[in-house]
C-alpha cells in the first residue's frame, strides 16, 4: 500500500491549498447565510418563546419518555427550597416523586434514593463536584469516586453513575454534558450500564439554537461534550429503533421544577 517513493509530507499541505485555490479560480461568491429560521430566544415549534418554565419541563419529559428514558419529576417548594411534592403519575408518562413517602426533607435526595433502590444499585460512580446532598438518602449505596481516575474495568464493574448536566433541550429531549461540576469526564457517563441524571429547571432550554448560544456564551463550547438523547440505541437492523447497545442501556432522568 505504501508508495515506492513517498512524497515529502510537508508538500501535501501546500499542494492541497494550491489545489483549492486553483479550483476556486472562478471566484464563487455565494449568497449570504440567512438566519431566518428559529434562532435562540425564538422558542421552538412545540414551545412558544414566552412559555412558562413548567411547559418546557413538560415537553422535555414527554420527549425523554418518547425515546424510552425513565423520568421522575420533583417539584421543589420555592418557599423553603427543600421538600415538596406532587404525587401520582403524570399524563406525560413520568413518575412524580412523593416526598412524603420518602420522608420529606430534600426532595432530590428522595428521588435519587428511590431510583437507585428500584434499580438495585449498590456501587455508584460519583463524579467530582456532585452536590453532596443528592446522595443523602441513598442508604446502602457505596459511592465510588473518580479520584484517582477509575480504570475502564472499574467503571464497568459499577452498577451505575449519577451526574448533573450542563443543559437540556426540551424540543429534542437532549441532555448536554460538558464535564462541569457533578458530571465528570466523559467515560463516567458511558461505561456504567445505568445513567441517572438530575436536570434542574433553569438548565432547560427550548431548542437546539438556544443550547448552542448558551454553550458559546458560557465558554463551554470548547470543552469535551456529550449530547445524550435517550438510552443507547441502534436503527441498524431493518431500520427499526432498538434501545440498548454499547452505551448505558438505561437512562433515568430526575427533572426538578
Amino acid at each position: 500500500m505504501s508508495q515506492a517513493t513517498p512524497r515529502p509530507a510537508g508538500d501535501a499541505r501546500a499542494e492541497i491549498l494550491a489545489r483549492v485555490r486553483s479550483a476556486l479560480a472562478d471566484r464563487p461568491s455565494p449568497a449570504p447565510v440567512g438566519r431566518d429560521y428559529r434562532t435562540a430566544g425564538a422558542g421552538s415549534p412545540s414551545l412558544a418563546a414566552d412559555a412558562p418554565r413548567q411547559a418546557s419541563l413538560d415537553l422535555l419529559s414527554r420527549r425523554l419518555v418518547d425515546y424510552h428514558a425513565l423520568v421522575r419529576r420533583v417539584r421543589l417548594d420555592t418557599a423553603t427550597g427543600d421538600g415538596a411534592v406532587t404525587s401520582g403519575a403524570g399524563a406525560d408518562g413520568a413518575d412524580w416523586v412523593d416526598a412524603g413517602k420518602a420522608g420529606g426533607g430534600n426532595a432530590i435526595a428522595a428521588a435519587v434514593a428511590a431510583a437507585l433502590a428500584d434499580r438495585g444499585v449498590r456501587r455508584l460512580v460519583r463524579p467530582p463536584g456532585l452536590p453532596p446532598g443528592w446522595l443523602a438518602g441513598a442508604a446502602g449505596v457505596e459511592a465510588v469516586d473518580d479520584e484517582p481516575a477509575l480504570t475502564a474495568g472499574e467503571l464497568d464493574a459499577a452498577d451505575g453513575v449519577l451526574t448533573g448536566c450542563a443543559l437540556a433541550i426540551a424540543e429534542t429531549g437532549t441532555i448536554i454534558l460538558d464535564g462541569g461540576p457533578g458530571q465528570g469526564r466523559r467515560a463516567l457517563s458511558l461505561v456504567p450500564d445505568y445513567h441517572l441524571v438530575v436536570v434542574r429547571a433553569d438548565q432547560v432550554v427550548a431548542g437546539v439554537p438556544d443550547a448552542i448560544a448558551r454553550l458559546v456564551t458560557t465558554g463551554a463550547a470548547a470543552r469535551p461534550q456529550t449530547w445524550v438523547s435517550g438510552p443507547s440505541a441502534t436503527s441498524d437492523i431493518e431500520l427499526n429503533r432498538v434501545e440498548g447497545v454499547h452505551g448505558p442501556r438505561t437512562l433515568e432522568v430526575i427533572l426538578v421544577s
Partner: protein, 523 residues
Amino acid sequence: MTRPAVRPDAGQASSATFLGLPAVVPPTAPRGVGMLRGDEPFPAAARRALADAQLRHNLGKATGTIRARRAGVVAELDDWDRLRAAGAAIKDDVLAHLDDYLTRLEEQVVARGGVVHWARDAVEANRIVVDLVRATGATEAVKVKSMATQEIGLNEALADAGIAAWETDLAELIVQLGHDRPSHIVVPAIHRNRAEIRDIFAREMGAAGGVPAPDGLTDEPRALAEAARAHLRQRFLSAKVAISGANFAVAETGTLCVVESEGNGRMCLTLPDTLITVMGLEKIVPTWRDLEVFLQLLPRSATGERMNPYTSMWTGVAPGDGPRAFHLVLLDNGRTATLADPAGRAALRCIRCAACLNVCPVYERTGGHAYGSVYPGPIGAVLSPQLAGVTDNPSLPYASTLCGACLDACPVAIDIPSMLVHLRARVVDAGRGTGRPPSAERAVMAAAAWTMAKPGRWARALRAARLGRLLGRRRGAIGRLPPPLASWTTSRDLPVPPAESFRDRWSRRQAGDGLGSLREGQR
C-alpha cells in the same frame, strides 16, 4: 469568528470568459486503492441485483420505514425550509473560502494540542494512519463508522501492515463479519434482514476472535444488539488506538463532532490513549453557531429522530478526559477536483444523511452494491464520478430516472438531478477526441441531428418509420428492435409508429377541410 470578506475581485472572472473547469484541474482519487469505482457498469450490476427478490424485499421494507419516520420528524419543524436554505448557504460559504477555513481549523486544532496531517489522496492518508498506529506499538485499533475511511480502503491498508481494524458500529460489524460490502451510507447493512444477521453473528463472531454469539441466539433485534454488545465490550475497554471519521469540524475552535446512536462512537472517542480522525476537506463549518443548523438537519434526515442518541464533541486534547494524543488527517482524494467544477461542486455540501437514497426509486430496487462505490444512490451517482473522474464511473450519472425526489429530500438542497444531467454531458465530452471509434449512440445522435436539420429529411424519415408497424403488428407494441437499436428495447417496449404522422395529417387537413380554412381566417 467573522466570515472572510468577499474577495475584492469576486464575480469578475465569471463575467469574463470562464466557462467551466479551471485550466489546471486538481487530480481525482487514484485508481487501485479504496472504494470509489465499481468492477462493472451500473446496468450490469443492477440487473443482477434486481434478480434478488430477498434483497428487494429487505430494501423495500427498510426504506419504507425510514421514509415515514423522516417525514414525521421533518413535519414537526415549521422552519425546515429555512434551516435547509441556511445549511446550503453555510456549506457554499465553506467551499468558496475553503483554503481560509482549512488553515483556521488547523491553527485551532494545533493550539489545543492536536496534530494535523494533510493527505493528497487515499494512498497518502492510509500511509499516515498506518505510521501513526505503528508509532503507538499497537497491532489493533477500534473503529467508529466512517465513510472517509471506507472510501480510502483504510481497513485493507491496515491489514496489509499487520494491524487489525475492528469495526464497532453494529451495521459495520455485520458487514465486516459477513465479509461483505456496505450498501448504504447510514445503515451499511440495510440489505440484510434480521435472520441473515443472526446467521452471520452465530457463524462468525467466534471465528473473528472476539466473544462468540450466545447459544440459541434468536433473530430478535434486541438479542442481536445484546450479542454485539458482549462481542465488543472487552475490545472497547482495552483498546489503545481508535480511528474515526467526523461529521463536522468547527473552524473557529477546532472542535470535531461525531453523531452516532449506539455508544460505540463514544467508546472509541473516549477510552483509548490515541485517537486518529480522518476527515474529508469539506466537513468544515465556520462557527459553533452553524452547528445549530446541522444538528437539526442531520438527525431528522438520517435516522428520522429528533436527535440521535449520542453526539460527541472534542477540541484538541482535554487533560484528564479522553485520549492523550489526537491526530486529524485532512483528506483531499478528489475533493479539490470536485470543487473545480462550478456546476458540480455543490455535491461537497453533502452531510452524508442518506435521505436521497431512502427516497430514490432506483436505489430502492437495486440496492447500494450496484453503484460500485462506497457512496451509492443519487448522491453517489454525482459524487463518485467527480471524486474518481467521470471516465472511471461513466455509467453512474445515468443511474437515475431524474424524478427529483432526491432534491426534495436533501437537507442541504443539492440539485442532484441537474448535476446528473451536467455529468452526463461531461461523460459524453470525455468520450470525444479520445481517438476511439464513435459509439453506436454517438452515430445515432449524429444521424438524428442530420435528419432533423432539414424539414424534408425529417418528413421522409417519419414516413419511413411507418415500416416499424410491421415489427409491432402482432402485440400492438414493439418488443424488440433489430441491431444496432436493440439495446433500446431490452428493458422497454416501443410504441408502434402511427399510420400517419402529425405533419402529414396537418398538411392533408389544411388542404382539404375546415381546420385549414380556420387557420387561414386567423391571419
